[in-house]
Amino acid sequence: MNTNTSNHIENIKSFTLNVRKNILEMAVAAGAGSAHFGGALSIAEIVSTLFAYQMKVDKKNPNWEERDRFILSKGHACLAYYAALCEIGYIAKEELKTFEKNDTNLLGHPVINRKLGIDFSNGSLGMGLSLGIGVAISSKKKKKNFNVYVIVGDGECNEGSVWEAAMAAPNFKLDNLYVIIDKNNFQQTGSNKEIMSVENLKDKWSSFGWHTVELDGHNIQELCNFFSNSKKIAKPKAVIANTIKGKGFSFSENNNDWHHSVLSKSFHEKALKELMEK
């Protein structure tokens, strides 16, 4: 969209607020099935900045040829993805309530559905960036101007295939490819430090040949600045986005019990109250 109006930050903030509301709605609808809550909340500002500001999208046509492409490589965070697709009008509010229900379009990991604006199936970690490379090469071969945005988790960086892709993108000079690494410092069963250290991510991506910036992944202004400042840099771009897992609610922030958990009615009410107070 990239309207670049003076109040774009406020617009993104309001979009993010709605994304969090939608996340709550889906998580509570999942009921006892539970949902990947923490890792969706850590990318709420990132997804909102992309969909409400940075990416070229046509609200009336999810398949617009010139659209920027989005790939949620950490597919388990799809609550945030579906929430954003709802805000731009591709997924109806009512459909959000079908999250993880039988026969739904909205499973616990994204399933390709072009009508809903979901371009790829994801869920098995470490695969999204390779897809992004293929799409970014397509953009260049077809002489189009669209960019490709891929969100990868920090835990996901344990996967070797991430680094196969990290090596390839600079080799193909894909300056139209962005990877945003959600560095929330946790993975499924513990902190990165406890399970598999992913320290010095900035050095790692930078040494692979990416233009790499580290920023606060909840600071919309910083995210916007990064995107506008890096436009002309002739390299693929990596953002190490420092985030808080479960961001937005007192009970879930930095609490890995909320990696995948049931949002009960009482927690839902508490969360809604906290959201309104902000």
Binding site: I112, S130, L131, I133, G134, S138, S161, E164, M167, A168
Partner: protein, 320 residues
């Protein structure tokens, strides 16, 4: 593509791998959005000329097969018609989950070509042989699997697979100086087997390099008064069910494959055969679920009893 006696001889001499490169060159002339992806095997896959002639249609991903499948799927999602190729074990198992998610689950249409499958690289050991690829890929929904019988069939199968709507795996067996099965052009249709020799006593279903061995075995069987029908089951998935049903009047059904007897052509035949009310016994010839000591191609074919003589010996043990 110019299919004539001279070219058929040349392709047979250079083998299926090098023929792949020639076939890809021809396809590039007529398919604008063709892309060929490899993992540092351009020379092994006969793609050196392709790389030089069509650099814009060629991508080398380095030694990174998982990434190759992902990149291929990204290109396919943008309507490129993609061929990927590397040695069979790396084309299929190294990136198996990428194949499942991107090509199977997501239905991105890609044609994968596994070169030097079977026992051809036996002197390198079983890291480079591939006796599992069909079994592994057959369990992925929507995957077409073709094992061409000779170099001409490689040309025809590649064309059919690239022009098909469905994702596919081409399993190339044999080495250079491949025997010629087809010495003139013929109709190739995915999923439709070809009876190469009629016979009334037994039916031999075979694919890839085993087609020649089976035809030779059938000749020897004739001298022993056993009349064999030989069917080139070039498409292993979807299997030609009608051909299996037609073979049920035989005294014995034999499957011959340069693959583990678990999961391959024999299994595919048996799966359908077991659903029929009346069908004959099946003899599974192939690698008997083992990693043997290595050696050259001929040595390994002998060892796994996949030469005409050994095929005949085993068949004779199973008929009255």
């Amino acid at each position: 593509m110019n299919i004539n006696e001279r070219n058929i001889k040349i392709w047979s001499t250079i083998g299926a791998r090098a023929t792949l490169g020639i076939a890809a060159l021809e396809l590039a002339k007529e398919i604008d959005n063709l892309m060929v992806l490899t993992c540092d095997v351009s020379t092994s896959a006969g793609l050196d000329r392709f790389r030089k002639t069509y650099p814009e249609k060629y991508l080398d991903l380095g030694i990174a097969e998982q990434n190759m499948i992902g990149v291929a799927a990204g290109l396919a999602s943008e309507n490129f018609n993609v061929i990927t190729t590397t040695f069979a074990p790396f084309q299929t198992m190294r990136c198996c989950e990428q194949i499942k998610v991107n090509i199977g689950y997501m239905k991105q249409k890609i044609c994968m070509v596994g070169i030097a499958s079977g026992l051809a690289l036996g002197t390198f050991g079983y890291t480079h042989c591939c006796i599992e690829d069909v079994g592994v890929l057959r369990s992925i929904p929507g995957m077409t699997i073709i094992s061409p019988a000779d170099s001409l069939e490689t040309v025809k199968a590649l064309r059919a697979a690239v022009k098909s709507e469905n994702p596919s795996y081409l399993r190339l067996t044999g080495t250079s100086n491949n025997p010629i099965i087809y010495n003139q052009d013929y109709e190739f249709k995915i999923g439709k087997s070809i009876t190469l020799k009629e016979g009334k006593d037994i039916t031999i279903f075979c694919a890839g390099s085993m087609v020649h061995q089976s035809l030779e075995a059938a000749k020897i069987l004739e001298t022993r008064n056993v009349s064999s029908k030989v069917v080139n089951m070039h498409t292993i998935k979807p299997i030609d069910k009608l051909a299996i049903e037609d073979s049920c009047n035989s005294e014995l059904i034999v499957s011959v494959e340069e693959h583990n007897v678990i999961g391959g052509l024999g299994s595919a035949i048996a799966e359908h055969k077991s659903s029929l009310k009346k069908s004959p016994k099946q003899l599974f010839l192939g690698i008997k679920d083992t990693y043997s000591k290595g050696g050259n191609y001929k040595f390994l074919q002998e060892k796994h009893r996949l030469t005409p003589d050994k095929i005949v010996e085993d068949i004779l043990l199973h008929i009255k």
